[in-house]
């Protein structure tokens, strides 16, 4: 146990002694802040009639987007999730790329324990990224909503549940990143997969799957859909035409956890326990 805790603190030290984490955190904050703030202004403007609907081509009458705050706040995970995945994948592939597996395994020869420690570390730091992303979506997005006179629902238990589930989702995404990094140790390939899948492949798959009921049910198990189900709100679920119910929040959490575990276990076998030459 002490060996595991030492390994966890060493993994924390690895992350915080290089610049990547704060660069990603700053970009995450700026990106989510802009998106949540901008869209909060747009939607709240339309809802309250400050912005004329004609100006944005929705055609006639004040439009109701449902409850705006959860939608805006969920940008933290529904858009920000790529950041913990990247951090996790880079933390793992960096060990291969810079050959730091050698000193790591010399100091801690129990390789499974090291991978476990890395996963636990990244889950916690991923949740930390969740805090950063929520500071942007709730702080900036909520501020803009209030400025438009829309209730930011900061008193509501629903909002704080969403916050807690977002932290969990961001932590699980970082674990998926660790697993992916072990599965695809080539750093460039790993980054390309993360970006292509999260920014392009999955959104298209979710959209395509949403048109038929059968495929929509399968589409619910895509990692991004599972994550949105866990958090409980997202622009993507709002846009679903077939109207299939998403997974329950806990099911979504288990599906995400499943992806993380499968990637990590297979990654352990295909790269982590192999010869370090």
């Amino acid at each position: 146990m002490t060996m595991f805790l030492r390994s966890v603190s060493a993994e924390f030290a690895k992350i915080f002694t290089t610049r990547l984490w704060w660069i990603l955190a700053i970009v995450l904050f700026g990106y989510i802040g802009l998106l949540a703030g901008g869209l909060a202004a747009l939607f709240a403007g339309i809802q309250t009639g400050v912005i004329s609907p004609d100006a944005v081509n929705t055609g006639g009458g004040p439009t109701d987007f449902g409850s705006l705050p959860p939608l805006i706040y969920s940008f933290a995970s529904s858009v920000g999730y790529v950041f913990p995945v990247l951090l996790g994948a880079l933390a793992t592939t960096g060990e291969f790329r810079h050959q730091t597996l050698t000193p790591t395994f010399l100091a801690t020869p129990r390789r499974g324990l090291v991978l476990g420690a890395k996963t636990v570390t990244l889950v916690l730091i991923g949740a930390g990224f969740g805090v950063v992303a929520l500071a942007a979506s709730v702080g900036i997005g909520g501020g803009v909503l209030s400025a438009f006179g829309v209730d930011a629902l900061l008193q509501g238990a629903e909002t704080w549940l969403l916050v807690a589930r977002t932290l969990l989702a961001m932590g699980l995404w970082a674990a998926i990143g660790v697993g992916l990094g072990a599965l695809v140790p080539n750093q460039v390939a790993s980054i390309v997969i993360v970006l292509a899948f999260t920014q392009f492949v999955e959104p298209l798959l979710r959209l395509a799957a949403s048109f038929l009921e059968v495929t929509a049910k399968i589409g619910n198990f895509l990692p991004g859909a599972a994550s949105d189900a866990l958090v409980g709100a997202s622009v993507f679920t709002m846009a679903s035409p077939a109207g299939t119910a998403p997974l329950d929040w806990w099911q979504g959490g288990l599906v995400l956890l499943g992806y993380a575990l499968i990637a990590t276990v297979i990654g352990y076998a295909v790269s982590w326990k192999r010869d370090v030459t």
Binding site: T17, T18, Q99, T102, P103, P109, V276, T277
Partner: protein, 300 residues
């Protein structure tokens, strides 16, 4: 410091796909001595050392420290310090943070980090990112990592590569001091001349196989004696040597015959009616013995 343990390789073999990198290698390394692990590039030194350290899985055989496999050591860094050939650093991390990470993992006091950096002469560069380090500084940092746990056993893969002359002098003294304190010191090199001033014992491998084992002085026994022989009629001389089954190469001052017996050559020439202009035995140096053992020279 923990006491030096005996390193024991027992019938180690390793195949990488179709390549047999190490073949049935067995030897022991004693504490209190510096053992040179020698062989040309590609001989299998790094592979053997990585097997010893549990980084590469042997196809068969075992390698242990005092009978215990590396991965079963209760305190690996306090027992064995290793510096391997490859530069294993994150370029964006400072030397101090690099060592700090592994000090945490091994449960060593953080004060040890500056101690070892001072020991290897890197204290002034402790806060510098390793990406800006020269090859020699990286070698020193690798050595600092090996020393973190003040181990009784040191395993160093080509530690002299990339060091400046001052660094080479320093590391030679350092290796001797470590052994004098009773530690086990195993140091690899592809050049005997690099380590011959500091090693007590040599283990020589070539093409993955053990070819020689013993004290450094055992290399002095003329393992590959040579005699220089020359004649005004070199072709006739060469024909006579070939007929007698003596291999030779063409040297600067004559033919280098692979025998330590000048009288035999004199007799051969006499019976073949070949006039000799030069005939003298060449005493092989350590390096020649080494090259002969690993098959690097003395062939036509």
């Amino acid at each position: 410091m923990s006491t030096g343990a005996v390193i024991e390789f027992t019938s180690i073999s390793k195949r990488f796909g179709g390549v047999a990198a190490v073949k049935d290698l067995s030897f022991t390394v004693e504490p209190g001595r510096v053992t040179g692990f020698l062989g040309p590039n590609g001989a299998g030194k790094t592979t053997s050392l990585r097997i010893l350290l549990g980084l590469v899985a042997a196809s068969s055989g075992t390698a242990t420290f005092g009978g215990v496999r590396y991965r079963d050591l209760p305190h690996p860094l306090k027992t064995v310090g290793a510096a391997l050939e490859a530069a294993s650093f994150h370029p964006g991390r400072t030397a101090r943070d690099h060592l700090g990470v592994y000090a945490i993992a091994a449960g060593l006091p953080r004060t040890r980090v500056m101690e070892v950096l001072t020991l290897v002469g890197l204290a002034a560069h402790a806060a510098q990112r390793v990406g800006g380090y020269s090859l020699g500084m990286r070698q020193r940092l690798g050595l600092a990592y090996a020393l973190l746990g003040d181990p009784g056993v040191l395993v160093l893969d080509e530690p002299i590569n990339g060091l400046d002359p001052e660094g080479i002098r320093w590391i030679r003294g350092f290796l001797r001091d470590m052994a004098a304190e009773g530690r086990t010191v195993l140091v690899s090199s592809h050049l005997l001349s690099e380590v011959q001033q500091s090693v007590d014992d040599v283990v020589i491998i070539a093409r993955g196989e053990l070819v020689h084992l013993g004290p450094l002085s055992s290399l002095d026994t003329d393992a590959a004696p040579q005699t220089i022989v020359e004649s005004p009629d070199r072709e006739a001389l060469a024909a006579a040597l070939t007929a007698a089954g003596i291999t030779f190469s063409i040297g600067r001052t004559g033919l280098l015959a692979a025998t330590g017996d000048p009288a035999l050559l004199g007799h051969l020439a006499f019976t073949a009616g070949v006039e000799l202009s030069v005939l003298h035995r060449q005493k092989a140096g350590l390096e020649d013995s080494f090259l002969a053992l690993v098959g690097g020279g003395h062939t036509l």
